[in-house]
Amino acid sequence: MGQLTRLFEAARNGQSGAVDQIVALTYRELSDLAHQRLRRAPKITLLDTGVLVNECYLRLVKVGDLDVDDRAHFLGYAGRVMRSIVVDFARERLAQRRGANAPHITVGTDIPDPAAAAEEEVVRVDEALQELARLDPRLAQVVELKYFGGLKSEEIAAALGIAERSVRRDWQKARVLLHGELKP
């Protein structure tokens, strides 16, 4: 039995620390992959996190850390992990950019820097998602898996153990609510 699969079982049994270990392990794997991809990008890049998650899954299966049957479990964590990777990445880049451009910014730090629009968006979505989780945790989970995890409806449905139709409905609602928050 793979390391992750064991941890999944431990987490299901309420063993403390199991979840943290899963996240840490997944984070390491995914983060490597993501940064590798971003570094290689020749120009403006769409970070295809869905592909990354699936590549990561295959790798973990290959090295024996994960059982093939545990894809759904893995995907469930992957969204959360991918979110923190992407948000961390964005925050880091924003900080770099601010640092570099600091002398030029005199007023209105709220004015979005077009060069950093993507990073801004990611951070703001992350914040709005925390709000959304208080209103309807499942909506937030769906957004996490879709927006950050890049997963398809069917994968999200599998990860959350709900019908694909529910995923689509949740996604619609979440999008409307977030739009209200982000673009009032």
Partner: protein, 1011 residues
């Protein structure tokens, strides 16, 4: 967030419910949510509005793109993962032949070698979710695979390979994209149009098979080396974007934008995609073929600017574009040959711009209509796009669906509110929406079918002028013939088409054909929906409508019984069909059971008032007027018809088609109650409207013209009346043929009777006789024939054929035998009978008949009526003939004075003259010649101006009466000259009745005796 978790719990469910509704019914659904907290409702409305706004946007669909960090590596990515020889599903790929937003296209062959020829294997990008895709592939593959057309590249297969790779296997076409081909070959405008016609043919074919392309563009149109156009990717856009999602969603897939250059406005707004969407894209393609440019000049080169232009900018006229290009010619291969400019102006501009209309409904309704106009242009004919009856019917047909969709709102308002109810209502609305979608599909098929009829006509008629002269009747017959072939595998569409054709036949009063088609419809509906299907009831109701004018009374009764049973079964108590059923039950019972009939019609009126269908209220009120008129309740009829007329005036122009019939009825009833000016106005309005809206040869025009003519004649405008009636008869024969069984005899009997009264006896009798012969042939045992026989009898009496007249009298009486003696038809018959007996010199029998039939010798108080005047004067004449001169003079004087007092005196001058004549004759008999003289003079003067002065025996009779006055007053000279006039008139008729010749002989004898 402004809402808390508890509120969200409710909002979330309501939001889900709203999502299941079509966009346009959401607002009324919101309104129906009564007890909901106002704040929540506003929130919900806000969410829905926001949803509509962002539904097709890419908000949060993917992570944003990150700009590269400084110093990022630049090694290439996304190299083709596949190489020649790789196996995908059952295919081996050979060579990459293209790349697009959807994926990569490879030339490939079957791996098992079963089929040697290559296919174009489209490998879709991984972003297309494979499980959804599989389901959709399974659904659409058969439909698309069935498209077999020489100009459409076949879809052989669609599936998902074992590794999850979705693929489409298409016919492998070697060719050049249409635009490149035209430029490379430097084709002329006509050559380009000919190629484009191939495209249109293929698209129409697909539309007939209910497939919309959705992504027509020149790169999807290849021309082979043989010059044959091949359309690629039919229906594939639908395959990839379910539920008619917007092109936006599709083009955003994979983050790589596809072209919007050929997208229709509705593809940007996310509105319904229909065949009109393809028409628009075809318009852009044609525009580009002709001008080398796209229709819009963009100020900014961005996707947003193009979207804005497609939604709101007017395209430049193609001819202007070419003109400008010529002013500042481009260099290179794309330069446009100069002659194109001239050809483009006018027609082609119009054609292209019509295809590019923003509103789908304003574009060519079908691709065939588009093609027909291009053909017209190529053949040098003016571009048509003209409306016709059948088109009108089609629009009506579509309009009905629109009404159905619009009335959905009312359903919600009417039902109870509350969360549970609201959710339930959402279910209902979804059903409706589903039905509307099915209907839209059917409508498209039917519309194409209609378009094909026109097309077939223009193909069959080598002579374009002849093709244009084809009557609606010819087109219908063509349609009836083609229906089996064109819609063989689409029974629901066939049912619709049958209805449409039957309706049109009905409209054209070609009842037998309508009956046949409706019979076919009933049995098809039974096959499709079972004997209890509500569609069966609808067909039966239409069938019964056709049977209305036929003698198949018992069939009609059983048809209506069956329709009632089915509607009861479906609890359709407030539907339009129920309304029509009630109306027909009312009509059918009108003659026999007026009270029951009135009940039915009042129910129908109430139903349509409740349904807020004013047009149907008008029609039902008309039926009520008719029923009450038949039941001799003239006031009741007048009330119903006046209300109908008032409603109708408020409904113009929608009500225009009802005006002829409605105002004819109104004219009839007003005339019967003595409102002559009102009646005349109504008849003139009816005729004018029929002529303007229905056309010179329409049944309504014939019917209204002869009513107007008869009315004019009967109200003492005899010459104008005869002229109008003659025109109506000519119209009827021209439109319906001399041996028509309905309109022509109807006009003939009315015209013949007036001709005889005018004094034109021989022609009048011949005309009436023709009418009677035809009526006898088609409706031998109908009670109404009695009235016609009476008229012929009048003619026979005038022509001294009294014994034949007697036979008509008896025949008429036997036809009326089944009717109660109180039936108004018996009274009508009695009047003619009295007239006949008096003419035949059987005065005593006439007097018996007068008392037996209860004919009146006194005018009723109130407005005068023509029928009453005629009746009272007959009684006076009868008294005079029976030697009661005093009595006769008194009755006649009362009539004369009543007319003179009446404000409508001018309309009754015939009766005034006849009353004066009877009174004068009676006074002479009473040896009161001095009093008689002015009356006889007035009678002669009146009748001279009213009747034909050369032929009228009635005028000769008045002249003889005046001569007798002069004789009694000792003035034989005047008498002799009047005798000569009267003799001259009577000499124009070879045979003339005793009633006229005897007084002349007597006068002659007396004058001779005096010498």
């Amino acid at each position: 967030m402004r809402i808390n978790a508890e509120q969200w719990l409710v909002l979330s469910r309501l939001f889900d419910a709203a999502m299941e509704l079509p966009l346009e019914s959401r607002e009324s659904w919101l309104d129906s949510l009564g007890p909901l907290d106002a704040h929540l409702k506003d929130e919900l409305r806000g969410l829905l509005e926001r949803h509509a706004r962002i539904e097709t946007s890419d908000f949060l669909e993917t992570l944003p793109k990150f700009r590269p960090a400084e110093g990022a590596a630049t090694d290439a990515v996304e190299s083709a993962a596949l190489s020649a020889g790789t196996i995908v599903g059952p295919y081996v790929i050979e060579q990459e032949i293209g790349r697009g937003g959807m994926g990569v296209v490879w030339r490939a062959r079957r791996a098992d070698g079963l089929v040697k020829r290559p296919v174009a294997l489209k490998l879709l990008r991984a972003e297309f979710s494979s499980s959804e895709l599989l389901a959709r592939f399974a659904r659409e593959r058969d439909i698309l695979g069935a498209l077999e057309h020489p100009n459409i590249a076949r879809l052989y297969d669609a599936g998902v390979a074992a590794n999850g790779q979705p693929f489409l296997a298409l016919q492998y076409v070697e060719g050049t994209p249409l635009g490149d081909y035209c430029e490379a070959k430097r084709l002329s405008v006509d050559q380009r149009l000919a190629l484009f016609r191939q495209v249109l043919g293929a698209v129409q074919y697909a539309h007939n098979h209910l497939v919309i392309h959705r992504d027509l563009k020149p790169s999807n149109m290849l021309v082979t080396s043989a010059g044959q156009v091949q359309l690629l990717d039919f229906g594939i856009a639908k395959l990839l974007s379910p539920d008619g999602a917007s092109l936006q969603a599709l083009t955003e897939i994979g983050g790589r934008a596809l072209t919007l250059d050929y997208a229709a406005p509705e593809q940007i707004t996310g509105a319904a995609i229909t065949t009109a969407t393809d028409v628009y894209s075809l318009g852009v393609v044609l525009y580009e073929l002709l001008t080398g440019r796209r229709p819009y000049r963009l100020t900014r080169d961005s996707r947003g600017a193009l979207e804005d232009a497609i939604l709101s900018a007017e395209p430049c006229r193609p001819s202007e574009v070419v003109f400008e290009e010529n002013q500042a010619p481009r260099t290179g291969a794309g330069a446009i040959p100069r002659p194109r400019l001239r050809v483009l102006r006018g027609d082609l501009d119009t054609v292209v711009l019509k295809a590019l209309k923003k509103a789908p409904s304003e574009r060519y309704r079908t691709v065939d209509a588009f093609a027909a106009d291009i053909d017209n242009h190529l053949a040098g004919r003016p571009v048509l796009a003209r409306a016709d009856t059948v088109w009108y019917r089609t629009r009506k047909f579509l309009g009905r669906n629109a009404v159905l969709a619009a009335s959905m709102g009312a359903v919600f308002v009417a039902l109870a509110a509350g969360l549970a109810a609201a959710l339930w209502q959402a279910d209902r609305a979804r059903e409706h929406a589903h039905r509307a979608e099915t209907q839209a599909r059917i409508a498209t098929a039917v519309e194409s079918f209609v378009a094909n009829i026109f097309h077939a006509n223009s193909i069959q008629q080598a002579d374009p002028i002849k093709a244009q002269q084809t009557t609606a009747r010819d087109l219908l017959d063509l349609g009836a013939k083609q229906i089996e072939r064109d819609l063989a595998d689409a029974p629901e569409a066939r049912l619709r088409a049958l209805k449409m054709l039957a309706d049109t036949y009905t409209e054209l009063r070609m009842t037998e054909k309508a009956v046949a088609l409706n019979h076919e419809r009933v049995s098809l509906a039974r096959t499709l929906y079972g004997v209890d299907g509500v569609e069966v009831a609808y067909s039966l109701i239409d069938l019964s409508d056709n049977l209305q004018t036929s003698k198949a009374v018992s069939e009609r009764a059983s048809v209506l019984r069956e329709a009632t049973r089915i509607l009861d079964l479906h609890h359709e108590s407030l539907s339009n069909a129920r309304g029509r059923l009630l109306r027909q039950l009312a009509q059918m019972n009108g003659d026999r059971e007026p009270a029951r009939s009135l009940e039915y019609i009042d129910q129908a009126i109430a139903l349509y008032r409740a349904r807020r269908e004013p047009m149907e209220v008008v029609r039902s009120l008309m039926a009520k007027g008719y029923i009450q008129d038949r039941a001799e309740n003239l006031r009741g009829a007048l009330v119903a018809l006046s209300e109908a007329a008032e409603l109708c005036d408020g409904l113009q122009p929608a009500c225009a088609s009802e005006v002829p019939q409605l105002f004819s009825y109104l004219g009839d009833v007003r005339q019967e109650v003595g409102e002559i000016p009102g009646a005349e106005a109504a008849y003139r309005r009816a005729f004018g409207s029929a002529l303007a809206h229905a056309g010179p040869d329409h049944a309504d025009t014939i019917q209204t013209e002869f009513r107007l003519g008869a009315m004019l004649f009967d109200t003492s405008r005899t010459a104008e009346g005869i002229q109008t009636l003659r025109s109506a008869l000519e119209r009827a024969i021209r439109a319906k043929g001399a041996d028509d069984s309905f309109h022509v005899p109807n006009v003939r009997i009315v015209f013949g009777y007036r001709l005889m009264q005018m004094g034109i006896l021989e022609e009048g009798h011949a005309v009436a006789h023709d009418a009677v012969s035809i009526y006898r042939k088609y409706r031998p045992n109908n009670a109404s024939l009695a009235a016609w026989l009476d008229i012929e009898m009048y003619g026979l009496d005038n022509l001294a054929r009294h014994s034949e007249a007697d036979e008509r009298l008896k025949e008429a009486a036997s036809l009326l035998a089944p009717l109660a003696r109180t039936d108004p038809m018996w009274t009508d018959h009695a009047r003619f009978g009295v007239e006949h007996l008096l003419a035949a010199g059987r005065a005593a029998e006439a007097a018996d008949l007068v008392s037996q039939a209860g004919l009146k010798s006194n005018l009723d108080p109130g407005p005068l009526t023509r029928i009453e005047l005629r009746e009272v004067l007959l009684v006076a004449e009868c008294a005079r003939a029976n030697g009661q001169a005093e009595n006769a003079a008194t009755i006649a004087r009362r009539v004369r004075e009543a007319i003179q007092r009446d404000s409508a005196r001018q309309y009754y001058s015939v009766y005034e003259a006849k009353a004066a004549l009877i009174e004068a004759k009676a006074l002479v008999a009473l040896r009161r010649a001095p009093e008689a003289l002015p009356l006889a003079q007035a009678a002669v003067a009146g009748l001279t101006s009213l009747y034909d002065r050369k032929f009228s025996p009635v005028l000769s009779d008045a002249q003889i009466a005046l001569a007798n006055c002069y004789l009694a007053l000792g003035q034989p000279k005047q008498a002799t000259s009047l005798l000569a006039s009267a003799a001259a008139i009577q000499a124009t008729h070879r045979d003339l009745g005793e009633q006229y010749t005897r007084p002349l002989r007597n006068l002659h004898t007396q004058l001779n005796a005096r010498k």
